[in-house]
Assembly symmetry: C2
Homo-oligomer: 351 residues x 2
Amino acid sequence: MTSLSSGSADAEARRATIRDVAQLAGVGIKTVSRVANDEPNVAPATAERVRKAMAQLRWEPDLGARNLRRSDGRTHTIGLLVGSVTNPFAAQVSRAIEDVAVRRGSAVFTSTLEEDPDRELASIAALMRRRVDGIALMPIAPSQAYLQEEIDRGLAVVCVDREPRGIALDAVRSDSRTAATIATRHLLRRGHRRIALLLDREDLWTAQQRRLGFLDAIRAVGLDTADCPIVPGLRDAESSGMAAARLMKSATPPTALFCGKNLITFGAVRTLQRLGLQHQIAVVGFDDFEFADLLDPGVTVIAQRPSQIGRLAADRLFARIERPGLWVPEVIDVPTDLIERGSGEIPPPIE
Amino acid sequence: MTSLSSGSADAEARRATIRDVAQLAGVGIKTVSRVANDEPNVAPATAERVRKAMAQLRWEPDLGARNLRRSDGRTHTIGLLVGSVTNPFAAQVSRAIEDVAVRRGSAVFTSTLEEDPDRELASIAALMRRRVDGIALMPIAPSQAYLQEEIDRGLAVVCVDREPRGIALDAVRSDSRTAATIATRHLLRRGHRRIALLLDREDLWTAQQRRLGFLDAIRAVGLDTADCPIVPGLRDAESSGMAAARLMKSATPPTALFCGKNLITFGAVRTLQRLGLQHQIAVVGFDDFEFADLLDPGVTVIAQRPSQIGRLAADRLFARIERPGLWVPEVIDVPTDLIERGSGEIPPPIE
DNA sequence: GGAACCCCTGACAACGATGTCAACGACAAT
DNA sequence: ATTGTCGTTGACATCGTTGTCAGGGGTTCC
């Protein structure tokens, strides 16, 4: 037993600093620093003594203090701002980004924006105060121009899933517009002439693009867009389900639904099943999801590749962090895949 | 235009420090510090000048530097170590924890452990080097005793979803053992006598508990446990699906499956549907999931309450951070709900 | 023998902020 | 006029680390 008073265990143990290690090892603090950073020119015997002292005191360098002095100015920390972690698409993107970060030795500050523009600004400000090296962002604010100043100061930024607005930044995303055209054309080929598009909030870049792609396909066949209603502003499965129900009860209900993202598909499919219409009304959804194949009918989807998107975005982010300079911002396009499972191949009723 | 050379935009802008602000405002740095921290005793006119300078230089304090000197020693940063973000249960828990953290003004380092014990140790070490105030942990390593030292130094820790081993810590989780008993009894009441338990790796606390609860129910009715095989070690939907297929092809296949967590349910349901057995074999799954109600048959589950678990865990964590002291660690039990949807109510075949 | 070099080492300043403290001026009370 | 109090302010030390630099000691090469 070392001492009686230590038995009370009331006072908190103080965390060891580099000075404590130096004293215990009988060397200067700079020598401890050298050993901790694997710098050359330390006598093997000295290094051994220092390492023993480190282990004995369980000393670990304070990265905050280290970063304060280090010349490279890097904190080995990145920020990850996602729309919503509970969205399976976003979760997979996050995971891929975090994977890369861990391999590169960076810690990740994650923050959920809940698709709230104010929260984007607030979160970015918080990350800047913590001096992150870079940020992977799913942009939601109407403009990201406010980032220019931070970028001039050395911040690296990559947009994920959506393109930025008001500023040119690297972005990794699916070509939503083309994918939406392909999905819509898929329904048109089956003979559908009244197709509804259920859409997220239109201030989202992805929603805008998918609307454009939808209209591209509709107009290409010279269809009256009045027969092809667009219902925007659907944030979750509930609102989407209600919108689908309203559509089906209207005077001229659509014969096919194109759902603008996973949560919207969830709501629409649920409503169709509740109304017993799942074998009459065609559905194509954006984003693949668990059980899309096990539902009856299986749900035809445009599958994105979230982990590929995440990995490419992270690679790009670290490339910018490690080799800052005047790169030209670039938009990287990740392919999508149309997966036919039944719901998208239902023909319209014969009139 | 300010100058010609600034047009080259080649050099990076230097980030303003408190000294720059002080100089611009014509005051000492301590006065800037006072204004930044809303300390009293600054003349209104001075404060106004300082605030103007801050805005002009877009100065934001460096939280790393601030923390180095601050007496309370808090970094307003917590760590969140989850098994896997792509697991919807874990995603909901994470989201709830992050919500609380943001409201309390703390940033969150998130790290995915992928159920790897080594990664738990490595991630915790990384968080300690960054001097987080507290950690919310889904424990995976065989023992968390190694945390004692950090706790003595003031770290707050709360376990989520699983209890710690080798040390007493706060924990917020479902009572998996009782829930498993309830689920098993549900099947027994329908007359099932050959029930299989599909289980995750048994080094996970939850898996151990669910096994115990399963056996409690089996033994309570005096059943031969040989007829009730336990298949452990199922990490994902694929391995679970294969295990289910093997079981169904065995000499005396079970008439009911109890699936130990969401991913396992996914695999088992998929296999049963592929074999066309979904209306013959009963299934009860642990964890609710999207579309459990829309499958045919609907999947009966033990639903956990992930956001409640996350919220309670975070509340507890911040309570410990804000009022450190010798609290007695406590295990908080969050209720589960058995939701009947059809698959769990299928009776065994008449022999 | 001396210059030149290399290895090893620690004193000290610095990073960007806050804590401590003393000095200053204005004002009230004696 | 003197003293005391209070609001305001900035010089300086400090947090835990790394960058700079100079010095001591040994070896090698003229």
